[in-house]
C-alpha cells in the first residue's frame, strides 16, 4: 500500500492504495465520487475524463499513485455551489445528453476545450471532443451545448 494525497474538488484527500489502483477507481470507490464513469478498457471512450492540474485526462488511464500531489477536478466539483457551470447549463438547455453516462466526461473534456479555445468553430468542437464517445445523441446537441457555453463566455 502506498500513501497518496490528492487535492480533489478543492479539498485534500489522503489514502493508502495499491500501486495498481486506477485513479478512476480511487475517485469512485474510495472518495465516492461516482460521476466519472468507466466505459471502456482501452482509453477510447472518455467517460472517465477529469481535470488534473487543469488539463483533461482519462482517469482510467493512470494510477491513483500517479496523481499523488496533483489537483483533480471532477464533475461533482464543477458547479459553483448551486450555480451550474456554463457547460452544465448548456448541456441542459440544448438537450446535450440522453442516457447521461458519457456526460460527465464529455463536459470535462469540453471544459478543457473552452479553456484552450474560448470561441471554437463547429469543426473545432467536434475535434475537441473526439476523444469522447456518445452513443445516444449523434453529437449534434452536444456541439450545440458547447457552443451555448462558449457564447456565454463560459469556461
Amino acid at each position: 500500500m502506498v500513501p497518496i494525497s490528492i487535492k480533489v474538488n478543492g479539498k485534500v484527500r489522503k489514502g493508502h492504495v495499491e500501486p495498481r489502483l486506477l485513479l478512476v477507481h480511487f475517485l469512485r470507490e474510495q472518495l465516492n465520487l461516482t460521476g466519472a464513469h468507466v466505459g471502456c478498457d482501452t482509453s477510447q471512450c472518455g467517460a472517465c475524463t477529469v481535470l488534473i492540474d487543469g488539463r483533461s485526462a482519462k482517469s482510467c488511464t493512470m494510477f491513483a499513485v500517479q496523481a499523488d500531489g496533483s489537483e483533480v477536478v471532477t464533475i461533482e466539483g464543477l458547479a459553483n455551489g448551486d450555480k451550474l457551470h456554463p457547460l452544465q447549463e448548456g448541456f441542459w438547455e440544448e438537450h446535450g445528453l440522453q442516457c447521461g453516462y458519457c456526460t460527465p466526461g464529455m463536459i470535462m473534456s469540453a471544459v478543457n476545450l473552452l479553456n484552450d479555445n474560448p470561441k471554437p468553430s463547429e469543426q473545432e468542437i467536434r475535434e475537441g471532443i473526439s476523444g469522447n464517445f456518445c452513443r445516444c445523441t449523434g453529437y449534434q446537441h452536444i456541439v450545440n451545448a458547447i457552443q451555448y457555453a462558449a457564447n456565454k463566455g463560459g469556461r
Binding site: 438537450h95 445528453l97 456526460t103 460527465p104 473526439s130 452513443r135 445516444c136 449523434g138 453529437y139 449534434q140
Partner: protein, 788 residues
C-alpha cells in the same frame, strides 16, 4: 388529434427533468450501488470459438487471498436450469455457464467471487481451462451445408429455423402458393437481382452491463439491480430460474446508460449473480468490462438477403422475392429468433406491391448470439428494399424519388393491409418524400453533385424511404404481453406521483410523462414526479424497447391520469356543488366551467379526498389509479432520409456533406427529445453504413473486439443533420404518438449506400456492400474489385 386535455406543455420543447442529476455526477448507475459486504464477480470466458472442455483447474484461483468462491459450469448447473427464451421456436440447451462445450469465444466457463474487482479478475485469469478444439463455423452459407461442422449436433446443417415462408399466398401454417409471385416475375419487363449483406454490429451502449444481486436469507427476498431495459421481465425470469415466487424478487433498473435493444435480453450474468448471491447468502456485484461486452452482450443485424424485384419498364414494382439468411450466432437468446421475422414483416416497405415472397432461414454459427439492436429487423428490410429500388431506378434511368413516388401506398388506402400480414395504421409517404425533397432542394442538390463531378470529384446523392413497426404491441405479438402499466396518485398535498412500467434508459420519460400529467391536471410540471425502474414501486410493467414507451407507456399513463382526474372532479363537484362534468382543471385550481369564482385550490381538493368529511355518497377516499393500456395494433412511423456524400478519389475515403431527414412519428409530446432520438438513430444508421462492423476471423475470433478496432462514430464523423417533420397521428392510441426511438436508423443506412453507389457510378457500380471502408472504395475506383 391534439392532446386530449390542455395542450400547454405537450408538444413543446420542455428541458429534461432528468438532467440536473446527470450533469452533476449525482446519478446512480448500477456500478454506483454499494451494499455492506458486497463481493465482486468476474467471469472466466472461453478464448476459443468452439471446443470441448477437457478440464478446468480452479485450484490456483481458490487459493488466492480474498477469493470467496469459484464455480465451474457444472456447479452453476446445479443452481440454474438451462436458460429460457422468449420465442416459440426450437432451441438448443443453453447453460448460463458452459458445461461441456463452448460455442463462441467469450462464452462463460467459470465464475469467481472475491473481495474486490481486481482480485476477482486476477483469480479468473488464474483458472486454467483445457479444450479439445472442434471445427469452427463462421460462414453462415457454408454452415447451411453443414460445413465445416455443426454448432449443435441436433440441428442438422446448422439450421436454427426455417426455411420459413411468408408473404403473398403464404398464411402461417400453410404451404405457400407462389403463383401470384411467379406471375409478377413472368409479367415483368425488368428484374433486378442482388445479394446483399446487412452486416453484424456491436450495440455498445456507453454503460456496459452490470448486476448487483442481494439475497437476504432472513427475509427470503432477492433484490437485483441490473442495467436492463425491462426490470419487470427480469423479475419474472429470475424468479422462475431461482425457484422463487415473483413476490420474493424485486428488480431495479437504476440509471441505465443506454441500451439500444441489447439490454432487453435477460442474460446469463443476471441469473448467475442471483443464484450465487442466494447460494452464498451475500450480496454480489458484476460489472462488465468493455472487451467483455464486445463478446458477451448480444450483437445486432447480420442478415444476408438474395433479393429479386420484378417491375415494368416505367418503374412500377410488380413483385419482390427475398431469401433471407440470418446468422444468429451460437444460441437463441430471449428474442433472437423473432428479430429476423420482423425483416420479413416489413418487406412491403412504403410501397403498394401486389406480390411478395420472403423466405427466412436462421443459422447457428460459432459467434456471439444476435438479438435486438436499434431497429431490430426493420432496418434490414428497409435496406434491402430501398437498395433494390435504387438499383431499379438506376437500371431504368429514372429519378429515384419519382420511382418511389410511383409505388407508394396512397394515403387514402390506410389502414393498409400488407402482403406480409401487417396493417399499417396511418401514413402519408408522399408528404414525407416531398418534405425531404424540398428541404434538400433536390433539383439543386443534383446540380451541386454534378458540379462537384465536373471538378473531378466523386459525389453522390442517396435517398431512402422507410416505414417501421413500432409501439409494440398487442399482447398477441409479445410473449410477455404487449400492454404497458401506469399508476397515478394525487398526493394529499396536491403533488402528483406517477409510475410507469416503461423503464427508460435515456428516452426522457420523466419529462414527457410529466408534461402529459401537468397538462391533464393543470398543475406545474415541478409538482409531478415520475417513478420507474423499480418493481417494488411500479407494480407491473413490460419495458422500453420497440419504440414503445410513449405510444404504449404514455397511453397507459394517460389512462391512469384520466381515471384519477375523473374521481377528483367528483370530489371537486361535491365541494363546489357542481356536476363533475362541469369541473375544469386549470393553473393549479379546480373550478366550475364558466364560473371562475367558484374554485378551489388543487391541493385543497386533494386534501379533501383523503379526509373526506363528509364522504360524498358512493365514493371511496383517495386519489390513485392504475391502468393497463393494450394497443389494438402496432404503430408505423415513417420518413425519408437524403444524403450527399463525396468520396476521395485518391484514398477512397467517404465524407458526408449533407444529411436531410424528414420523419413522421405522429403527434410529438416533446419535439426537443424527439430530435435527440432521431439524431442518435441517424448516427447509428450512418455508423453502420460507413464505419461500424463486427468482423470475425476464420477461427471465430472477434477481430473488432475493442474500441481500438471497432469504429464507434465520433463527433467528427457527422455533419449537422438537417431535421424536418410531418405529423400523421396514429389512431391506435389516444395520444396519436407513434414512437421514434429507432426511426433514425432506418432510412439513413440505405441512403448513405445509395449515395456511395451514385458517387461510384462512373465505374459502372450497381451495388456495394457495407460498410464503406476506404480500402474497399479505393479498390472500386482503381478497378480492383470490391463491388457488384
Amino acid at each position: 388529434m391534439a392532446s386530449p386535455t390542455l395542450p400547454k406543455l405537450v408538444g413543446t420543447r420542455v428541458k429534461r427533468r432528468e438532467d440536473p442529476r446527470l450533469i452533476q455526477g449525482r446519478a446512480t448507475y448500477v456500478d454506483d450501488v454499494k451494499i455492506p459486504g458486497l463481493q465482486h464477480i468476474a467471469f472466466k470466458r472461453s478464448d476459443i470459438a468452439h471446443g470441448k472442455i477437457v478440464s478446468i483447474d480452479t485450484s490456483a484461483a481458490e487459493k488466492m487471498d480474498g477469493v470467496e468462491a469459484v464455480f465451474t459450469g457444472t456447479q452453476i448447473a446445479e443452481l440454474l436450469k438451462p436458460m429460457p427464451i422468449g420465442t416459440p421456436f426450437p432451441s438448443p440447451e443453453h447453460r448460463a455457464v458452459a458445461v461441456d462445450i463452448v460455442r463462441f469465444a467469450g462464452e462463460a466457463v467459470a465464475v469467481v467471487v472475491a473481495a474486490d474487482r481486481y482480485i476477482a479478475r486476477d483469480a479468473a485469469d488464474a483458472i486454467v481451462v483445457n479444450y479439445d478444439p472442434l471445427p469452427v463455423v463462421v460462414d453462415p452459407e457454408l454452415a447451411l451445408q453443414g460445413k465445416p461442422g455443426l454448432v449443435h449436433p441436433q440441428f442438422a446443417n446448422n439450421v436454427a429455423l426455417g426455411p420459413m415462408p411468408s408473404g403473398t399466398g403464404a398464411p402461417p401454417g400453410h404451404a405457400p402458393d407462389d403463383s401470384a409471385v411467379e406471375k409478377a416475375f413472368k409479367d415483368a419487363d425488368v428484374v433486378i437481382s442482388q445479394r446483399m449483406h446487412n452486416h453484424r454490429l456491436v450495440p455498445n451502449a456507453m454503460e456496459p452491463r452490470g448486476v448487483v444481486a442481494h439475497y437476504e436469507p432472513g427475509r427470503s427476498q432477492l433484490t437485483i439491480w441490473s442495467s436492463t431495459q425491462n426490470p419487470h421481465i427480469l423479475k419474472s425470469m429470475v424468479s422462475g430460474m431461482l425457484g422463487l415466487g415473483e413476490d420474493q424478487v424485486r428488480a431495479i433498473a437504476p440509471e441505465v446508460g443506454g441500451g439500444f435493444g441489447a439490454k432487453i435480453n435477460i442474460y446469463a450474468e443476471e441469473y448467475v449473480c442471483a443464484a450465487v448471491s442466494k447460494k452464498l447468502g451475500i450480496p454480489v456485484k458484476w460489472i462488465e468490462e468493455r472487451s467483455e461486452a464486445f463478446v458477451a452482450t448480444t450483437h445486432g443485424r447480420d442478415i444476408i438477403c438474395y433479393i429479386d424485384v420484378a417491375a415494368t419498364k416505367d418503374g412500377k414494382v410488380l413483385g419482390i422475392k427475398m431469401r433471407l439468411i440470418a446468422d444468429i450466432g451460437a444460441y437463441n437468446m430471449l428474442l433472437t429468433a423473432a428479430i429476423p421475422t420482423l425483416t420479413m414483416l416489413m418487406a412491403n416497405a412504403t410501397y403498394d406491391i401486389p406480390a411478395i415472397r420472403t423466405t427466412l432461414t436462421e443459422v447457428f454459427t460459432n459467434k456471439t448470439p444476435t438479438d435486438a439492436y436499434r431497429g431490430a429487423g426493420r432496418p434490414e428490410a428497409t435496406f434491402f428494399v430501398e437498395r433494390a429500388l435504387d438499383m431499379l431506378a438506376r437500371e431504368l434511368k429514372m429519378d429515384p424519388a419519382e420511382l418511389r413516388r410511383k409505388n407508394f401506398i396512397p394515403k387514402d388506402k390506410f389502414p393498409y393491409h400488407t402482403q406480409m400480414g401487417a396493417v399499417y395504421d396511418s401514413g402519408d409517404y408522399e408528404a414525407s418524400l416531398d418534405t425531404a425533397l424540398k428541404a434538400s432542394d433536390w433539383k439543386n442538390l443534383l446540380k451541386e453533385r454534378d458540379e462537384l463531378r465536373k471538378q473531378g470529384k466523386l459525389a453522390g446523392v442517396g435517398l431512402a424511404m422507410y416505414v417501421e413497426v413500432c409501439g409494440i404491441g398487442p399482447s398477441a405479438t409479445l410473449p410477455t404481453g404487449g400492454w404497458e402499466h401506469a399508476q397515478v396518485t394525487v398526493e394529499r398535498d396536491g403533488r402528483i406521483s406517477a409510475a410507469t412500467g416503461a423503464s427508460p434508459h435515456g428516452q426522457g420519460n420523466e419529462t414527457t410523462f410529466a408534461q402529459m400529467l401537468a397538462d391533464q391536471f393543470g398543475v406545474p410540471i415541478e409538482h409531478v414526479t415520475i417513478h420507474h425502474g423499480d418493481t417494488a414501486v411500479v407494480k407491473q410493467g413490460i419495458g422500453t424497447f420497440g419504440s414503445r414507451s410513449q405510444a404504449v407507456g404514455g397511453a397507459a399513463l394517460h389512462m391512469a391520469g384520466t381515471k384519477v382526474r375523473t374521481k377528483m372532479a367528483q370530489f371537486a363537484g361535491a365541494l363546489l356543488e357542481a356536476a363533475p362534468e362541469d369541473i375544469v382543471f386549470e393553473a393549479g385550481k379546480i373550478m366550475v366551467k364558466g364560473a371562475p369564482a367558484k374554485a378551489k385550490a388543487f391541493s385543497e381538493v386533494a386534501g379533501f379526498a383523503y379526509i373526506p368529511v363528509p364522504l360524498p355518497e358512493g365514493m371511496e377516499p383517495g386519489l390513485s389509479a392504475d391502468a393497463y393500456f393494450e394497443p389494438t395494433n402496432n404503430t408505423y412511423p415513417f420518413g425519408c432520409h437524403i444524403v450527399l456524400l463525396e468520396i476521395d478519389r485518391e484514398t477512397g475515403e467517404p465524407k458526408l456533406r449533407r444529411v436531410v431527414a424528414a420523419d413522421d412519428a405522429g403527434n410529438l409530446i416533446n419535439p426537443l427529445i424527439v430530435e435527440g432520438q432521431i439524431h442518435g438513430g441517424l448516427a447509428q444508421g450512418i455508423g453502420q453504413a460507413m464505419i461500424e462492423e463486427a468482423v470475425y476471423s476464420d477461427d471465430g475470433q472477434l477481430l473488432t473486439g475493442s474500441f481500438m478496432d471497432y469504429a464507434l462514430p465520433r463527433a467528427t464523423d457527422f455533419p449537422m443533420f438537417e431535421m424536418h417533420s410531418t405529423y400523421t397521428p396514429t389512431p391506435v392510441n389516444p395520444l396519436g404518438a407513434k414512437g421514434v426511438g429507432e426511426a433514425g436508423t432506418l432510412g439513413s443506412t440505405p441512403a448513405v449506400v445509395c449515395a456511395a453507389v451514385d458517387a461510384l457510378s462512373e465505374f459502372g457500380v450497381k451495388h456495394i456492400d457495407m460498410m464503406l471502408r476506404p480500402e474497399k472504395l479505393w479498390r472500386v475506383i482503381h478497378g480492383k474489385g470490391g463491388a457488384a
